[in-house]
Structure formats: structure tokens, C-alpha cells
């Protein structure tokens, strides 16, 4: 029924042409920012905010995500000079976002009521938060990839290029994560 992980690993998707183009853009932008161009950082923010948003959404309460995205980019702005390879901006900021999510729970372990904050105002929103909660309960390797694909609308090659993961890993994570999610949602029984 589904392609096995081995099949997926042996047939990696061809690299999308926009990947290298995007990498070239981020190299130019990082260099420009380091030379004092603040607008260059705004452009980097526009490119990578969905990635950071998705990473956070897979980990922290929805209500906290927007503020944390801003904090993470301000932190990245201050620490950009420590980035060794300009082409690694995506994996670098993804790592900052993951660490910040861990810090968030470390700091506010006893004060955050996740379930209450996840409640949506309308039916569609409520359904979305329920599914998001199911995704959050999946193993860590799958939840981030699934959120980036299903919520942020990125393709597998885009996720690989921006997070620094290999295309094969992303494909396997998507496939296995989706399989688990279908089981959780009851799609297997046609629900």
C-alpha cells in the first residue's frame, strides 16, 4: 500500500532548483546584514519566519508562538556574527527555535495550561487544534516535519533545504508520521 522506508531511501527526490537559489540568496543576505544592512535581515525574517513558526507550533502553546518567533529573530540578529557559514542560516535558526522551545518549558513548566490555550474560537479552528494536538503527541522526529508540511504548506524538498536535514530523512519522517497520524485520526477506517 505504502512505499517502504527502504524504497524511499533508495529513491531520493531530485533537488529542487529553487533550493540552491534560496541558499545563494541567504548567503548574500547574511553577508549584507553583517555589513550593516538591516533590511537584509527583514528579508531573512520573511524567508524563514514560517519555518520558525512551524517548529514552535509543533512544541509550544499556540498563544506563545508569535512572540517567540519575534524573540528568536531578534536573538538571531544579535548573534548573527557567530554564524560560521552563511549558507547554514536555516539549520542555525531552526536550532535556536528548538532550543528556545525547550527553554520555554523549563521556565514556565508550572504556569502554562496548554489545553486551555489550544482551544479555538470556531469549529474549524477547534478541529485544527485537535489535530495539532494529535501531531504533537507523535514522536519528535515526525511532528516537526508534519507541521511544516501540513500547516506551513512547505514541500518535502523545501523542508530539507531549510532545516538542513537530508531529503531522505524528511521523506521517511513524512511517510511514517503521516501513517501514525492517519491511525490516530481513524482515517484507516474511513472516518
Amino acid at each position: 500500500m505504502y512505499a517502504t522506508a527502504d524504497m524511499l531511501l533508495t529513491s531520493p527526490a531530485p533537488a529542487a532548483p529553487e533550493q540552491s537559489h534560496e541558499t545563494a540568496i541567504e548567503v548574500v543576505l547574511v553577508k549584507a546584514v553583517l555589513e550593516g544592512d538591516r533590511d537584509g535581515f527583514t528579508r531573512l525574517y520573511d524567508l524563514y519566519a514560517p519555518l520558525v513558526h512551524g517548529i514552535l507550533l509543533a512544541r509550544v502553546p499556540r498563544a506563545e508562538v508569535d512572540d517567540l518567533v519575534q524573540d528568536i529573530f531578534l536573538h538571531a540578529f544579535k548573534k548573527l556574527h557567530t554564524l560560521r557559514e552563511s549558507s547554514s542560516f536555516g539549520p542555525w535558526i531552526a536550532m535556536i527555535a528548538r532550543n528556545r522551545a525547550v527553554d520555554f518549558y523549563r521556565r514556565s513548566r508550572e504556569t502554562v495550561e496548554i489545553n486551555d490555550e489550544l482551544r479555538g474560537s470556531n469549529t474549524q479552528d477547534s478541529r485544527a487544534t485537535e489535530i495539532l494536538e494529535l501531531i504533537r503527541n507523535l514522536p519528535e522526529a515526525y511532528r516537526e516535519t508534519l507541521v511544516l508540511r501540513l500547516v506551513e504548506g512547505m514541500t518535502g524538498p523545501e523542508i530539507a533545504a531549510r532545516t538542513g536535514l537530508t531529503a531522505a530523512s524528511v521523506r521517511v519522517n513524512l511517510h511514517r508520521g503521516m501513517k501514525l497520524l492517519r491511525e490516530q485520526l481513524g482515517f484507516m477506517e474511513g472516518l
Partner: protein
């Protein structure tokens, strides 16, 4: 069913994935401008290259000087040998010379002096200045050797004390 649609949105659309995309799309990132405070300044990337280059240059100069001094002290020896003046003609009593009664009149001091002044061909004759230079060079080489020894012993100590756990492991493996 292949998962091309899930992977890169190509191929036959998967209705379940499409439905999830539609529902979860409401949570998607909504663009908001990034507010960078004006007082927030970007620290410049530190450029260590000039300092590294200067340090490397100084190290190379010291190394070259040391090598030059050591080769000079070695290279001078044969030259000096060549410069050795031929033995000055001295009064020497040849064994074949017949013993004359006059020889009996030579004082013992005179004979000793004759043998004392015989120069050795293999030992270079150094002037005072050259000797001082040689001594200085020797001191420098000795200093360099001492420093190297100190550094080597320091490295030895560090390597022995870095991770005792590994050491035990290795010993265990070997044993």
C-alpha cells in the same frame, strides 16, 4: 498509493492529506513585520586574520633565525679548519739529528716550550669575538631546546591527565 503528493505536492492528490492541509491551514504563519529596536546594533564579525598573520610571521622569523644560527655554527667548523695557519716553523729536534754535545746545553724549559707551541691541525683557532658569538649561539640553541623540552613535558602531562576514564578504558582493552 504512492506519497508523491505528500512529498512535493506532485502526482495524484491524496484527499486525506488535502483535507488535513485545509483544516490545519488556519494555523499557518500570518506575516507580521519584525520590529528591530533602533538601539539594537549588530556586533561585527571579528576578524582575527591580521593577528594570526602577524603571529605566524614572528614564529617563522624566530624559527628561521634558529635554523640559521644552528647551520652557521655547524658550517663554520670546516671553514675554520681550512683557515688554520700552517704550523709555524719551530725549533724542533729531529730524531735523525745527531746528538751533539751542544744539545746538552739546551735548557729543559726551551724544549717544553717547543712542544707546547705545536698547533693541532684539527682544532680551530677562534678569535675572542668568534668565541663569544659561538657561545651566544650555543646558549640560544640550549634555550630553544629547554623550551621545547618544557613544552613537550607539558603536553605529556596534559595528555595523561585529560580523561582518566578513557585511560582506564584503554588499559582495560589492552589488558
Amino acid at each position: 498509493m504512492n506519497d508523491d503528493y505528500l512529498w512535493d505536492k506532485t502526482g495524484e492528490p491524496d484527499p486525506q492529506v488535502q483535507e488535513l492541509e485545509e483544516i490545519l491551514g488556519s494555523l499557518r504563519y500570518q506575516p507580521k513585520p519584525l520590529q528591530i529596536p533602533n538601539e539594537l546594533r549588530l556586533p561585527q564579525r571579528r576578524n582575527y586574520f591580521p593577528w594570526v598573520a602577524i603571529a605566524a610571521g614572528v614564529s617563522l622569523a624566530i624559527l628561521a633565525g634558529g635554523i640559521w644560527l644552528s647551520t652557521r655554527s655547524h658550517g663554520d667548523a670546516p671553514q675554520r679548519q681550512a683557515e688554520v695557519t700552517p704550523p709555524a716553523p719551530v725549533k724542533e729536534v729531529t730524531p735523525s739529528a745527531p746528538k751533539t754535545p751542544e744539545r746538552k746545553n739546551e735548557s729543559p724549559e726551551e724544549v717544553v716550550a717547543v712542544h707546547k707551541h705545536r698547533p693541532r691541525a684539527s682544532v680551530p683557532v677562534l678569535s675572542k669575538r668568534e668565541r663569544e658569538e659561538a657561545l651566544m649561539a650555543k646558549e640560544q640553541v640550549m634555550l630553544a631546546l629547554r623550551l621545547t623540552t618544557e613544552k613537550l613535558s607539558l603536553v605529556h602531562k596534559k595528555t595523561q591527565n585529560t580523561n582518566p576514564a578513557n585511560q582506564i578504558k584503554n588499559q582495560h582493552r589492552v589488558g
